[in-house]
């Protein structure tokens, strides 16, 4: 960070904004002390904040908003959204501190994001004095513990320019506190998983419509999603992914009848529409005699695999009880049709379901 010339400009901070309540409050607490705060939000590809959760018709009544942008509006501050998809791969694939309950590398993720904020500041034409996060000691079992707080500060390179306003009183004073840029007495001593202090503070500030994602802000904390990612790596024989891979893990039923290919079967119209965008990249099937789902085939299916794939696709169509369903197949650049009998429910092995 660039040295601040004596009182030539206001104190400025960058707040990591996930879109959740804690980062909203952390930024607000510092704004209230007269510090100019700008938000930064990192897009990893695994963020729940995207609208993939709204693809399905059953989710259509959910408010389609990006919560990080909503937070920035509430605080009337700029928000810088940064694409870190490529760089983030190494965090997911090789986390130095390991995974949490699922494929979530939470501690490495936090270190990475704070270090990226430091890098963003260094590359900026503007000057910022410190970084804010909404971390609370004891809030998360992996990354937000008393022992991990100094690890994040040190390994990110932020050191004592990293301020956690919601639990600062439980930690040694940071540079902004020691320099008097912020008043430590007006910071908080929240700890543990109890959300009541945050909810009370939100009420104090008049925030009512804030996001409360049940599983955090990242798909990697989700058991089902993590299983699909582990399956993808196992099937490919390497721990690697592209953005399309991780987007598709969020959509449809994933069925692996054989080790060398899997099916992504749209669960309803919204998902079929979404998967349409991938038809050029994947062999695909869709019933034409009955309404039914678009199905992508990922991997190395052979021509001999197509009949089983068609039977499974037919199982999820409106012709599931019919004797025969006609399925259109696009495979190796050729379009063909197959008449198949839909598989019965008991013929679909639970082992195929990812």
């Amino acid at each position: 960070m660039k040295a601040r010339l004596a009182m030539k400009r206001p104190i400025k901070a960058i707040a990591l904004i996930s879109g959740g309540l804690d980062s909203l409050l952390a930024a607000k607490v510092i704004q209230e002390q007269g510090v100019v705060v700008e938000g930064i939000n990192f897009f990893t590809g695994f963020c729940v904040e995207g609208h993939t959760h709204a693809i399905r018709k059953k989710d259509k009544d959910k408010l389609k908003r990006n919560n990080a942008l909503w937070v920035a509006e509430q605080l009337d501050m700029p928000l810088h959204i940064v694409d870190i998809i490529e760089e983030y791969k190494d965090v997911v694939i090789n986390p130095q501190h390991g995974y949490g309950a699922n494929m979530n590398p939470c501690l490495d993720c936090k270190i990475f994001m704070v270090s990226k904020a430091m890098q963003w500041i260094a590359d900026s034409d503007y000057e910022y004095d410190f970084i804010i996060t909404g971390e609370v000691i004891g809030q998360r079992p992996m990354s937000q513990r008393k022992e991990t707080m100094p690890v994040i500060a040190e390994q990110s390179g932020a050191n004592d320019r990293l301020l956690r306003p919601l639990c600062a009183k439980n930690l040694p004073p940071t540079l902004p506190e020691r320099e008097g840029w912020v008043d430590r007495e007006k910071l908080f001593d929240f700890s543990g998983r109890n959300r009541k202090p945050q909810m009370a503070l939100a009420e104090h500030y008049g925030f009512t419509d804030y996001a409360q994602p049940a599983g955090g802000c990242c798909f990697l904390t989700d058991k089902n999603y993590s299983s699909k990612l582990a399956d993808l790596w196992q099937a490919r024989g390497e721990r690697a992914y592209e953005l399309d891979d991780i987007m598709l893990l969020k959509v449809g039923r994933h069925i692996r009848p054989k080790s060398h290919y899997k099916m992504i079967v749209a669960r309803e119209e919204g998902e079929t529409r979404f998967l349409q965008g991938y038809k050029k990249q994947f062999p695909h099937l869709q019933p034409i005699s009955h309404n039914g789902p678009l199905t992508l085939l990922d991997g190395m299916p052979t021509a001999a695999d197509l009949e089983l794939a068609a039977q499974i696709t037919a199982r999820y169509s409106q012709g599931r009880d019919a004797e025969s369903v006609t399925v259109e197949i696009m495979f190796e650049g050729e379009t063909s049709t197959l008449q198949v009998s839909p598989l019965a429910a008991h013929e679909i092995s639970p082992d195929w379901m990812i």
Partner: protein, 82 residues
């Protein structure tokens, strides 16, 4: 003279259209117009929200054939590096 630019954000899910918009606006000047075309209906909410916090003006937005179009005018209010 103001410039009219177009951004194709089709088949991108939010927040990628917002990120692409943000990055393109950095290369434009106050008064320039940017038209963003996308297929994620979320852009109708997110890009106007981003414009409001970044000091840009939404001129028009409309939808049809599963596509959504937003025209914005680059503002002269300097907020951060947006």
């Amino acid at each position: 003279m103001s410039v009219l630019k177009q951004l194709d954000a089709r088949n991108l899910l939010c927040p990628l259209p917002v990120i692409r918009t943000q990055n393109m606006v950095k290369s434009l000047h106050p008064g320039d117009t940017l038209e963003v075309v996308g297929t994620d209906p979320g852009i109708l909410n997110d890009i106007p929200a981003w414009c409001r916090i970044s000091g840009h003006e939404v001129l028009e937005q409309h939808s049809g054939d599963n596509e959504y179009v937003i025209s914005l005018k680059v503002g002269d209010r300097l907020r951060g590096t947006s």
